[in-house]
Amino acid sequence: MTNLKLTGVEKTYAGNINVLNDINLDIKTGELIVFVGPSGCGKSTLLRMIAGLETITGGELTIDGERMNDMPPAQRGIAMVFQSYALYPHMTVRDNMSFALKLAKKNPAEIDAAIEKVAKTLQLTDYLDRLPKALSGGQRQRVAIGRSIVRDPKVYLFDEPLSNLDAALRVATRIEIAQLKESMPDSTMIYVTHDQVEAMTLATRIVVLANKGVAQVGSPLELYERPENEFVAQFIGSPAMNLLSGTVVDTGDFTTVRVENGGGVIRSSVPSSAELKGTSVNIGIRPEDMQPTTDDNFAFENRVEIAEALGEVTQVYFKPQSPGSTPVIAKLQGIHRDVRTQTMRMSADPSKVHLFADGRSLLYR
């Protein structure tokens, strides 16, 4: 049973540059954890601390209950796949794959068998005696993955492994990784990516990093349906969730909010207690949940400035509610030809209306 645990982990670089603070995570066997977050938020740093490539400046990392802070990388039972593949350019594919095993003084027959087996699953058998420079990008990526599998680690670490591949290959390789994970149910993987689709499709749980800490941990759908805070709400999903400021006018099993700046009154299925009445909140509606309405219950009414017809959907940008604020976006199903410059009234199902007070979701109050 592999259990990887981070307790109060911190990272401060030389010169008092603090990049991560109080990270707590509990990762169980067989999970595929994806780290996402804005660029520079410390995803790679956290991964590299787990790998042992960066010192952990505070807190504790344990794998299977054993403290790992001071262990060198090789003794942590991890394998890492780098964005640049990091294949040894002067070694053949076979030598690349066997390097770690040879260093660990495994017996040659065992090494050969392991390599053959992995090469077969990854369709690398024909390339075993080639140098990395004679391989395509996708093949190199597979060698990098194969190289980590051969070592049979407890934890796999991936740092944006697909970002150097072109779009089509990316999809194919993503599916391969998913199948690979399927075939190794006991392996634990930690995966850093910028790509939402990768995160949503691969992860058993996603860790959203922001502001030097963890913004939320949860399954992909949890993050989508029940974001804990405005940051996660806007980070997951594309285009980002619309936020409109308003005031609570009615509480109970449903909460009713009057939207400011010429908005209407809209109901949310998020329950609230009576003392919230009169406080200001932000309502959040995903573009894909926006619907045109003629009803009196609506979120807002405004003129359409830009309409992007993508075929299956039409993305509609409304005139900003107040000058300088971000425009509200709605995704309308199908083709809508003449919506530009029209004024539309938009609403959403109460179950799709999120409520945030001081940036935190009322769901978790």
């Binding site: 403290r67 802070n69 001071d70 262990m71 003794q75």
Partner: protein
């Protein structure tokens, strides 16, 4: 023992020694001093990794301090002392420097060195730039470069022989075998000159040897710099109506100024250390003395360590602006 055998043995010993040092010191660190096992494994490994860089660096630091850092200090000390009989020495302050500046030979060497410093880097760089620009524009440019670069591989002594043949002089009634005299007579010179004994001019004949060697170096580096210039800037200038000379002097040269400076300073350092050419061709006679040869004279012919060291310090003083500038740049770059 036959020197070749001795050489072979020393290669084995020297190289083997180096390898053995690195291997066993690492083994010792990891297995004996801080074993990476047992209860303190993690801490031990961290400690071993703090020490390891110094293991890797030790031989280099030792060699650098003994062979370069210590001599600088020691030469400074020697330049302030006088040797007494029986391996004694006595502090004499600046007396050696005073004696040195009272010698006309020293001032001759200084004057010549300054002349070298002005002429050699300037001509080498200019000719190198010319060769780089020309050879980049023809298809046989690589062969041309290779041939102009070739003197770089020739020793200063070999070059001295080569150029002595060029400067050779025969009596007037014989065929001249030195090209320079042959040409001189061909173009109407009255009688052959012994070029290396013509005061002041002979300095230039010595400098030509170094320019001949260094031009290739300048060319190689400047050629790389020229190729690094974005093609668009040149094309933009052509569209703007610049002629080839304007393109070269107004567009290309300004963009490689940094490299020109680097080439210039590198050649300057070579010039300051120039010894072999003068030693082999004139040995400082006929007013061709330079500092490095003057110093050698003092140290090993006159056996005057005090003045010899003082003149060495003068050379050090002359390179130190470049030293400071280099260090400053290197530090800036590392940030």
């Amino acid at each position: 023992m036959h020197p070749a055998l001795q050489g072979l043995l020393s290669i084995v010993l020297g190289v083997g020694g180096c390898v053995a040092y690195f291997y066993f010191s690492n083994q010792f660190l990891d297995k004996v001093l801080f074993p990476g096992r047992g209860p303190n494994a993690g801490r031990n490994i961290t400690r071993a990794n703090m020490i390891r860089p110094w293991l890797f660096l030790l031989p280099a630091i030792a060699a650098l301090s003994i062979y370069l850092a210590y001599p600088v200090v020691e030469t400074l000390r020697l330049s302030l002392t006088e040797r007494l009989p029986g391996n004694q020495s006595q502090f004499v302050g600046l007396a050696n420097y005073q004696q040195m500046v009272s010698e006309p030979k020293f001032w001759e060497a200084m004057r010549n060195n300054m002349l070298w410093l002005l002429v050699v880097p300037a001509f080498s760089t200019a000719l190198g730039l010319l060769a780089a620009q020309l050879s980049d524009r023809v298809r046989w440019g690589n062969i041309a470069k290779s041939l102009i670069f070739m003197p770089m591989a020739i020793s200063f002594v070999g070059a001295a022989v080569i150029w002595k043949l060029v400067y050779d002089t025969r009596p007037v009634d014989q065929d001249q075998i030195g090209v320079l005299n042959a040409l001189y007579l061909f173009f109407g010179g009255s009688e052959p000159n012994t070029w290396l004994t013509l005061p002041v001019w002979n300095n230039f004949f010595l400098m030509i040897v170094l320019i001949w060697i260094q031009t290739g170096f300048a060319m190689v580096i400047l050629s790389a710099a020229l190729r690094g210039i974005p093609e668009e800037t040149v094309e933009a200038a052509i569209v703007d109506g610049a002629n080839p000379f304007q393109v070269f002097f107004k567009i290309k040269v300004p963009q490689i100024m940094g490299t020109v400076v680097v080439v210039w300073t590198t050649i300057t350092i070579v010039v300051l250390k120039v010894f072999d050419i003068v030693f082999a061709m004139t040995n400082g006679q006929w007013e061709t003395q330079v500092l490095a040869n003057y110093m050698y004279d003092k140290l090993f012919r006159a056996n005057d360590w005090g003045v010899g060291s003082a003149s060495a310090m003068i050379i050090m003083l002359l390179v130190s602006p470049i030293l400071v500038w280099n260090v400053y740049n290197a530090r800036k770059e590392m940030r």
